[in-house]
Symmetry: C2
Subunit: 227 residues, 2 copies
DNA sequence: GGATGTGAACGACTTCACAGCG
DNA sequence: CGCTGTGAAGTCGTTCACATCC
């Protein structure tokens, strides 16, 4: 097709350094390093090398060093990394060196499962509000939290300082609920609904699409078993 | 440590074609195209172009064509792709042009949520057996399926022709249950437990790590809001 | 004209290899 | 010596651009 010019970076005159940024893949690995480090710390390890850190995760030592190099000069040649410092540095880089207030919409089985999942609280993600469109669920208490109707978002979320939203609602409702959350000031969404959300710039989205994951698996199995 | 080196290509004399393989990212997009195509088909569209297919998904037309080119020469220049044929070709490529029997281990909230999720059945994934280590749950019926104890895997799974396993068990149990499933003949696992599974070659794994996802989100929000 | 398929350019991520430091 | 940090090389995936065909 002809000139789908697209605006892009035309406004940028030049000169600005590329400034290496933490890549998406690196961020995912940092999460894994963090978890591994916590295990190693509990086992009493004070120092870790890039080799030992990556080993159990299937990551090469060179990759580990590259990832960690983004955080600054934390390693000591010939020795390794000081585990506690490394944990602190990773937490800061990931933005989890503080508490995040989270709202959860859709108190079905999936929502309840996430609510009880310890991993979240351990990392500073605190579910502060629940929402559900089902009148039978509204005003009930789940894990000590009252379920609010969706209309209450604009009032409740800012009051509680909620910045993140988790969507465990049916696919049909996802876009509407997402819009309501964004209007109420939420700046990031983790959605489990299939399909793509259209959101204003400045709002981040991470999508966990279970169908896509299962299809990936089917593909891999077919490949390896393709005899 | 070494070991993983495997053959590498240094030993390759030459001559053998690289044979382009469907990349992981491409496979993920094919899933999305498939879902989009089904919507378009319901709306009565018989032909689609790479532009219209990718538009709603945020994928460029060139990317769509590259992805679809792996499936063979399906497009008609000046016209586009015939939607029904494309659907069939994608299903075949992903290995979902047939039914897959699935076993689910861990009948907690998350397990129940997946069990009721329609998207799986629509794509030919049939949950054929349930397992749980909790004696209170064993022998109960959930969604018409009896819950078996883990010891029954070796007997039940081969009998039902189960090839895929879904793990919604606590982190501590994941490796043991995974091993049991593999022993019982399962060739692919979708796990929701945090942590890395060590499995024999030939068994595929897709891991959905919710903590990693949330941390990705926190990182993105911190980035965009880092003003 | 309209849209595909595809080499070539480009960019992003990973691995290699080694200098340098404790 | 062991292990880090990092340029260089290599690999993989995406975007561009255009010849080609209906």
């Amino acid at each position: 097709m002809g000139g789908r010019a697209s605006v892009a970076k035309s406004a940028m005159p030049k000169g600005v350094e590329p400034e290496p940024r933490l890549s998406r893949a690196s961020v995912g690995r940092l999460s894994l390093y963090l978890r591994r480090l916590e295990v190693l710390l509990r086992e009493g390890a004070a120092k870790v090398s890039s080799g030992t850190l990556g080993e159990a995760l299937g990551v090469t030592d060179a990759q580990v060093r590259k990832d960690l190099a983004y955080l600054g000069h934390l390693g000591h040649p010939g020795v390794g990394y000081a585990a506690p410092e490394l944990v602190a540095a990773i937490r800061r880089a990931l933005g989890i060196d503080r508490e995040w207030r989270v709202a959860l919409a859709g108190v079905g089985n999936l929502g309840r499962a996430l609510l009880r999942y310890r991993g979240f609280a351990e990392r500073g993600f605190r579910v502060a509000a629940l929402f559900d469109a089902d009148p039978a669920k509204v005003r009930q208490r789940v894990d000590g939290l009252e379920v609010h109707p969706p209309e209450a978002m604009a009032q409740v979320l800012p009051a509680l300082g909620v910045e993140l939203g988790v969507l465990t609602v049916p696919a049909e409702a996802a876009q509407v609920v997402a819009d309501a959350m964004v209007t109420a000031g939420v700046r990031g969404l983790l959605t489990f609904a299939p399909g793509v959300l259209r959101l204003p710039a400045g709002v981040s989205v991470v999508s966990v699409d279970l169908t896509v994951q299962l299809e990936q698996l089917a593909f891999l199995v077919q490949l390896s078993g393709g005899d």
